[in-house]
């Protein structure tokens, strides 16, 4: 039988404990979401009375999470898509072109990035109210788009600094305009980087609660707001496991997205075009 070095054994033990610490709460939430109401306070970790899938249908249909899914998807996809497009163009301007005050623009971006959203909350509210988009999905899409920008620009920045500028010059010599350089050369090369930025800002946008609870009404309520509501209702109704089902439903899309996009991280598309 193969013998293991004691250190290896210890290392694996520590790793197992850590994994348990991280995965434990998830498993607990999922397990609880499938329990019957009566079983909620029982000491059993796993549901013993059979799996109560109706907790999910109740949350999804009766309490209208389906509709909130649609809202969240609409707002998040629009904001991330728009944000990445703007970030790509902004990063091109700031890191691939040369002009006066280029660094000033970048510093300004960093400053804005450090501003907490609470600071601009009231002015944004008034602005949206006056322009008539308050309570419409635009009232979320616009600030969320701005929220996508800083991180995406930062991620693109390090990528653009690595990518040889001669690629742009070659395209320019070949007759490409600025937009063509972005669309035909930089965009295809940036796909893995954009996927990274997209997944991170998707999570951030999907989970946003503060603006979502203020700028729209229940017709455009997103998942985090809806889950908070269900939390209240379920507590009153005494249907605790259904609350857990709602929580599972709220992070399920992110989980699936991550599993799906994980491959993009390892795929290094941008190699071999220049000497390396």
């Amino acid at each position: 039988m193969r013998r293991y070095h004691p250190l290896t054994v210890v290392k694996h033990l520590v790793l197992c404990l850590l994994s348990l610490a991280f995965a434990g709460p998830f498993v607990w939430v999922i397990a609880t979401s499938l329990k019957a109401s009566s079983e909620f306070f029982s000491p059993n970790f796993l549901p013993m009375d059979g799996l109560q899938w109706e907790n999910y249908t109740q949350a999804f249909v009766t309490y209208g999470l389906a509709h909130n899914y649609f809202n969240s998807l609409t707002v998040t996809v629009a904001a991330v898509g728009l944000g990445l497009a703007i970030a790509l163009l902004a990063a091109y301007g700031m890191f691939r072109l040369r002009f006066r005050f280029r660094n000033t623009v970048f510093v300004a971006l960093v400053v804005v990035m450090m501003m907490p959203p609470q600071l601009t909350l009231i002015s944004q509210f008034l602005l949206f109210q006056k322009s008539g988009i308050l309570y419409s999905p635009l009232a979320l899409i616009l600030p969320y788009t701005l929220g996508v920008l800083p991180l995406s620009v930062f991620i693109l920045r390090s990528f653009f600094k690595e990518l040889p500028i001669d690629l742009d010059h070659a395209a320019r010599m070949d007759g490409a305009t600025d937009l063509q350089i972005v669309r035909l050369v930089l965009l295809p090369l940036s796909v893995p980087v954009l996927a990274t930025a997209g997944i991170l800002t998707f999570i951030q946008t999907w989970n946003e609660f503060l603006l979502a609870s203020i700028f729209v009404r229940s017709d455009w309520a997103t998942i985090p707001v809806a889950v908070a509501n269900i939390n209240n209702i379920a507590t009153q109704d005494g249907n605790q496991p259904m609350k857990f089902a709602a929580v599972v439903l709220s992070f399920l899309p992110l989980f699936v997205l991550f599993l799906f996009l994980q491959r993009f991280f390892v795929k290094g598309l941008a190699s071999g075009g220049v000497k390396g």
């Binding site: 040889p164 001669d166 690629l167 010059h169 395209a171 320019r172 490409a176 035909l184 000497k275």
Partner: protein, 328 residues
């Protein structure tokens, strides 16, 4: 355009290309001022040092990129790409991506991308500097042949004086952002405008000997010896630097010429067809800031070895000299 690293030759090339803005002066192409014309409207094509192939496109797509941007029909693009690929013998690479190619193959594709547009001028930015020596020599010949066949003007930037000497019709030699001299390669080699030009061109490097004009046609060396030089109208007493090309020395043990010097071989580089001798010659003191030993090149397989003493002389007509102002 040739010159040491950082002398501004690449910047000049990029300014010609339109990738850098000219802060002053103008760029004239066939009598037309193109200083403020966008790069794509100048009709130039450029080959970059690091090839700058589009990594996400196949070789064929790389070659046809400019034509695609110009809105040419697909059939025409394919025909042009095939033609160029055949010229450069890269037809079997057309479906590959740049990362699957070797350095030499990438270089060919980069050149092909320039050719396919049929530009009015080719701009090369040190295109061979990433290749190994053998491939570089081969590509040098191919580029020269390509130039002959296409008959299109090529501006070629290099820091390698061998490339400059062998490939150029005219050389522009630059230093610190300024043009030091321009002309045919042999012009620059035989009649350098100043000490820098004389020192930059030629391998092994020219020997610099500090001296003073003693009389018309004679210079006095630091050792007190006199040496005959081409007659010039410099006042006696003027400090000059003599430039003696290594290949112009005559090694002759039997000669009784007054002008001959004696020296001891300290190092011998046998290059096969020729031999480079590094010599310690106290009678012929060198400029110590430039070199420590006199260098003599012999176009024979030398019979000397380290420690041998030999006699040599230098034909007066061959010496180049410059005064401290650095002009010839």
């Amino acid at each position: 355009m040739v010159g040491p690293s950082g002398c501004g030759k690449s910047t000049l090339l990029r300014t010609i290309a339109g990738l850098e803005d000219a802060t002053s002066g103008e760029i004239v192409l066939n009598g037309r001022d193109v200083t403020n014309v966008a790069p794509r409207d100048r009709g130039f094509a450029m080959v970059f040092q690091n090839y700058a192939l589009y990594p996400h496109l196949t070789v064929a797509e790389n070659l046809g990129f400019a034509l695609r941007l110009a809105g040419q029909p697909k059939a025409e693009i394919n025909a042009a790409v095939d033609r160029v690929a055949e010229t450069l013998q890269i037809t079997d690479l057309l479906t590959k991506k740049p990362r699957q190619l070797s350095g030499g193959q990438r270089q060919r594709v980069a050149i092909g991308r320039a050719i396919v547009r049929q530009p009015s001028v080719f701009l090369f930015d040190e295109p061979l500097s990433n290749l190994d020596a053998a491939l570089r020599a081969q590509m040098r010949v191919e580029l020269a042949a390509l130039h002959q066949r296409l008959g299109t003007s090529m501006i070629y930037v290099t820091h390698d004086q061998v490339e400059a000497m062998t490939m150029a019709d005219r050389i522009v030699l630059m230093r610190a952002g300024l043009v030091e001299q321009q002309g045919t390669p042999l012009d620059l080699y035989n009649r350098p405008a100043n000490r820098f030009v004389a020192g930059f061109l030629g391998a092994p490097r020219i020997n610099f000997i500090p001296a003073r004009i003693a009389a018309a046609g004679w210079a006095e060396l630091a050792s007190g010896r006199r040496m005959q030089i081409p007659a010039a109208t410099l006042a006696p007493g003027t400090e000059v630097t003599l430039g003696l090309r290594p290949e112009h020395f005559v090694v002759d043990d039997t000669s009784n010429i007054d002008d001959s010097f004696e020296g001891k071989v300290v190092l011998e580089e046998r290059l096969g067809r020729e031999t480079v001798l590094h010599i310690d010659a106290p009678d012929l003191p060198l400029d110590p800031s430039e070199q420590t030993h006199l260098v003599i090149q012999r176009n024979v397989q030398s019979a000397f070895s380290t420690g041998d003493v030999l006699r040599f002389w230098f034909p007066p007509k061959r010496s180049l000299f410059s005064v401290p102002t650095e002009r010839r």
